[in-house]
Symmetry: C2
Subunit: 447 residues, 2 copies
C-alpha cells in the first residue's frame, strides 16, 4: 500500500505526531502503524493498580486520530528501506511513504548483572495492556511485593499497590526515593510521606539477586541480607527502542537514542524520530539528555508533525527541559530544569533560594496545604536554571510556571518584577507567593 | 521622629513595600504607618461571609514586618511636605523621611447618581475590619440581600452569602456576571454556575435607586421594576485614595491615579507610590490601566522597595498585565492579559483558539473536571495577547503559566514548541493539554 506519512508507534509520540501531521497537512494520507490494539496512557499506568482500578479505563483514545482521518493499522513493521522509502510489515506487506516518523518508544531495562530476573512473578512496568493485565491478575492472592527502583514509576506503583492492601517494600540504591529528580529536602519529604502511608522504604541499598526456584521467593540485597517476597517489580528505568531505525541505517547516539536535529529529523532522508526513542539535548548544557517523559515526547512529536514538509515552525528553544511532577496522597511535588545537585555536577556555579508558605490565603482554609518553592539560579548572570515545588495539587501547574520561565531564559530580576495572579482559594497570597519569595531570597544572595 | 523609609498604608502594597525596603536596605529604618490596628487580607474579604466565617481569620499577619524590624505605627498621616521631606500625623507629630512610599489604596465607589445609598443597611465592601464586622453583624436576622455589581468581589460575596442561607440576588448591567473580565462563553459558564448554586442573577439591568424610608426596603431598577430587599451591598468598583499625595503636590493622572514611572517614582522627589493608588500602564497598549489587584500591588511594591535608593532592579516588562482568577464552588476561571472583546476594542486584529479537555488523565478520575483554555493572539505576528481558563482549581496556576508567557512576549510558534510537564492526577494529558491544543488551533488559523 501507499501512504504519505507513516508513523511507527502508537503511544504518546506516535499519537501526537500522527495528529499533528494530519492536522497540518490535511491533504496528505497519514497512517499510524502500531502493535497494540489498545494503547495504555503511559503516565496513567501506575494508577491502574489502585486509583483507576483497571487498564480498561486507561486507554489512549483513538477518537482524535479517527476524527482527523488518520488511518490506524494494528501491525508490526519489520524493516524500513530508507532509500526506496518503503517499510515492510512482519507479514511481508510493503508500505511506501513520503515521510516517516519513528515513534517506537522505550522498554523497561532489566540489568544483565541481576540474577534470577527471569523467574515467575518478576515483572517490569512494560507499557503494554496485555502484559499489565497479566501482571495485575497474577498479583491477586499474593501478599508481599518488592519494588526495585524508586523513580517516579516505582514510587507511584508502590503507593498504588499499598493502597490496595499489598505489603509493599520499595528498594532504592540512592539515599532517598525520587533522589535523581529532586534535591534531598524535597526527596526527603516525599520519602517520609510514602512511609507514612504504609509503604516500607529501604534506601541506600541495592539488590543483587532475585531469589526463588523458578518462582520468586525473595530478594538478596547487596549487603547479603535477604527479604521474602511473593512478587518483584523491577522499575529500573527504560531504554529506547531503536532497532528498527538502526537496521534502516539511522545513526544512533552514544546513549542509544536515534540521532535527530532539533526538528526531529534523523540522519535518514525524510525520516523523523520523536519521543523516547529519539535524541534529546539538554536545554542548558546541550549534552545528550536521558529524559523520557510523555510530555517531552508530545512536544517533540508536535515539532515533527509541523515540520514534515518544510520547516514552518521554528524551534525557538535550545533543547529539552525535564519538567516532572508527581503526587503521593495529597502531597505533590514537581521539578523543572536542573535541581541543585545536578546543576553543581554539571559545573554551574549556583545560588539557591527556598521559601515555604501556604497554597491559599488566608492559610486557615480546609484545603490549605504548605507550599515550598526552591529556585536554582546561575550565580554569574541570574538566569534561572531550575526550580522545585512541594505542596498541594496546584504545584503541578506551578511547576509549569517555572518551566515556562526557564524556557524564556528569565532571570531572577525578571521574576522579581514579574506579575502573577492570585486568588484566596486557588493560589498562595500575592505577598507570600513562594515562587517570588524564593526569587527575593536568591536576589539578596546574588548581591 | 525620624525615619529613613516611610510607608503610608498597610494593605498588600504597604506591607510588601515595607518588607522589600527593609529586606533590601537592612541598614535603613523603615516605618509603616497605617490607620487600622488589624488589616484585612484584601482578596480574602468575600470569604469572611462564608468559607472563612470571620474577619478574625482573615488578617494580614504582622509577623513578616516584625521579624525584619519594620516599625509599625497605627496612626494617620494628615499631610506630607515633599520639599522638607516631613510627614505630619493627624495628631500633629512630624515624621521626617529620606524616602516615602504612598500605598494608600482604594475605596469603594458609590455613584453620585444613585439615590438612597445613604440609608441604613446599604453597604459597600470597604477594606476595613470594623466596617466589615459591623456589616456582618447587621446582616444577621435579615433575609433578602441585593448585590449590585457582578465583578469579582460582587460575585464572590454573593456566592458566600448564598452559602450562608441568605436570599441573594445579584444585579449586573452587563449581559453576564464577570462580563468585563471574561469573554462571553466563559462569563456564561460562571453565570450558570452561580445560578445553579442558588443565587438569583439579574443581568442586563441596572438599578437607579435604593428604596426605603431611611432603612432599605428594596431597589428600583432602571426599567421601573421594583424588588424588595432587606440589605443592599454595592460592589461597583473602587477608586484610588490619592488626596494625601495630591495635597503634597504629586501629579494625578486623568483616571485619578498618582502618576508614577515604571520604578513607581511619583513626580515628587524621593516619593514613590505603589498599589491601587498608583498609576499603571497597560502591558500591551501603554495606556493608563484601571486594574486594581493585590497581586499587581505586590509586584509594584516590590519594585518600589528594591529601587528606593538606586535603580538596582531593572523593570524588564513594559507595563501591567491583569491576571485574575476566581472560583464558584468547584468551578474556577482565570484570565491573563486581554480577552477577545477588549483586544478588539483596543484595535488589535486577533485570532483566537479555544480547546476544552479535562484536567487529569485519564479523564475518569473522581477529581476530573473539564478544562477550557482560550488564547487571544495578534494576527500580525502571532504574539499572545491574552488567555482565559475555565476548569478545576488548577486553573489558578495555569492562568499564571499564560501570564508568564505573555510577559515574555511568547508567540504561538513558541508555545507550539514549548515543553510543559504533566501528571495524571495534577494536570491535563500531554497529548490533550488545552493550552497547547488551543495554540495549535490558533496556529492553523494563522496559516
Amino acid at each position: 500500500m501507499n501512504t504519505d506519512v507513516l508513523v511507527i508507534g502508537g503511544s504518546a509520540a506516535g499519537l501526537v505526531a500522527a495528529m499533528s501531521a494530519k492536522s497540518n497537512h490535511p491533504e496528505k494520507k497519514v497512517t499510524l502503524v502500531r502493535k497494540e490494539e489498545k494503547v495504555m496512557i503511559p503516565c496513567g499506568i501506575p494508577y491502574i493498580f489502585g486509583t483507576i482500578g483497571t487498564s480498561d479505563k486507561n486507554i489512549l483514545p483513538d477518537g482524535g486520530l479517527e476524527k482527523l482521518g488518520v488511518e490506524i493499522r494494528i501491525d508490526e513493521i519489520a524493516s524500513v528501506d530508507a532509500q526506496k522509502k518503503v517499510a515492510t510489515t512482519v507479514g511481508g506487506e510493503e508500505i511506501s511513504y513520503e515521510k516517516l516518523i519513528f515513534a517506537t518508544g522505550s522498554q523497561p531495562v532489566i540489568p544483565k548483572w541481576l540474577k534470577g530476573a527471569d523467574q515467575k512473578n518478576v515483572f517490569t512496568v512494560l507499557k503494554n495492556k496485555n502484559y499489565l493485565d497479566e501482571l495485575h491478575a497474577q498479583l491477586q492472592g499474593l501478599k508481599k511485593i518488592v519494588l526495585v527502583g524508586a523513580g517516579f514509576i516505582g514510587v507511584e506503583v508502590a503507593d498504588e499497590l499499598n493502597k490496595k492492601g499489598y505489603d509493599v517494600t520499595i528498594v532504592e540504591i540512592l539515599p532517598r526515593i525520587l533522589g535523581l529528580a529532586f534535591d534531598d529536602e524535597f526527596a526527603a519529604a516525599m520519602n517520609e510521606k510514602l512511609i507514612e502511608r504504609g509503604v516500607k522504604v529501604r534506601t541506600g541499598i541495592g539488590i543483587k539477586e532475585v531469589l526463588g526456584d523458578g518462582t520468586v521467593s525473595g530478594v538478596l540485597f547487596d549487603n547479603g541480607e535477604k527479604m521474602d517476597a511473593d512478587a518483584v517489580v523491577l522499575s529500573l528505568g527504560y531504554k529506547p527502542n531503536v532497532e528498527l531505525a538502526q537496521k534502516a541505517g539511522a545513526e544512533i547516539n552514544s546513549a542509544g537514542f536515534i540521532v535527530t536535529d532539533q526538528y526531529k529529523r534523523t540522519t535518514l532522508a525524510d525520516c523523523f524520530a520523536a519521543g523516547d526513542c529519539s535524541e534529546k539535548r539538554d536545554f542548558l548544557t546541550g549534552k545528550i539528555s536521558r529524559v523520557m517523559l510523555a510530555s517531552t515526547s508530545c512536544a517533540e512529536a508536535r515539532v515533527a508533525g509541523l515540520n514534515l514538509y518544510s520547516l514552518s515552525t521554528i524551534c525557538t528553544f535550545r533543547g529539552t527541559i525535564g519538567i516532572y511532577s508527581t503526587c503521593i496522597g495529597e502531597l505533590a511535588c514537581g521539578v523543572a530544569g536542573l535541581n541543585e545537585a545536578t546543576a553543581k555536577t554539571e559545573g554551574f556555579e549556583v545560588v539557591t533560594g527556598s521559601f515555604t508558605g501556604v497554597d491559599t490565603h488566608p492559610g486557615c482554609l480546609d484545603c490549605t496545604q504548605k507550599q515550598t518553592v526552591k529556585l536554582i539560579v546561575s550565580k554569574g548572570n541570574g538566569v534561572i536554571l531550575g526550580g522545585e515545588t512541594l505542596g498541594g495539587r496546584s504545584v503541578g501547574e506551578l511547576t509549569n510556571v517555572i518551566g515556562i520561565a526557564i524556557q524564556n531564559s528569565m532571570t531572577i530580576n525578571d521574576l522579581l518584577v514579574a506579575q502573577i495572579g492570585t486568588h484566596p482559594l486557588l493560589t498562595a497570597s500575592p505577598a507570600g507567593y513562594p515562587l517570588i519569595k524564593a526569587a527575593e531570597i536568591v536576589a539578596k544572595a546574588l548581591k
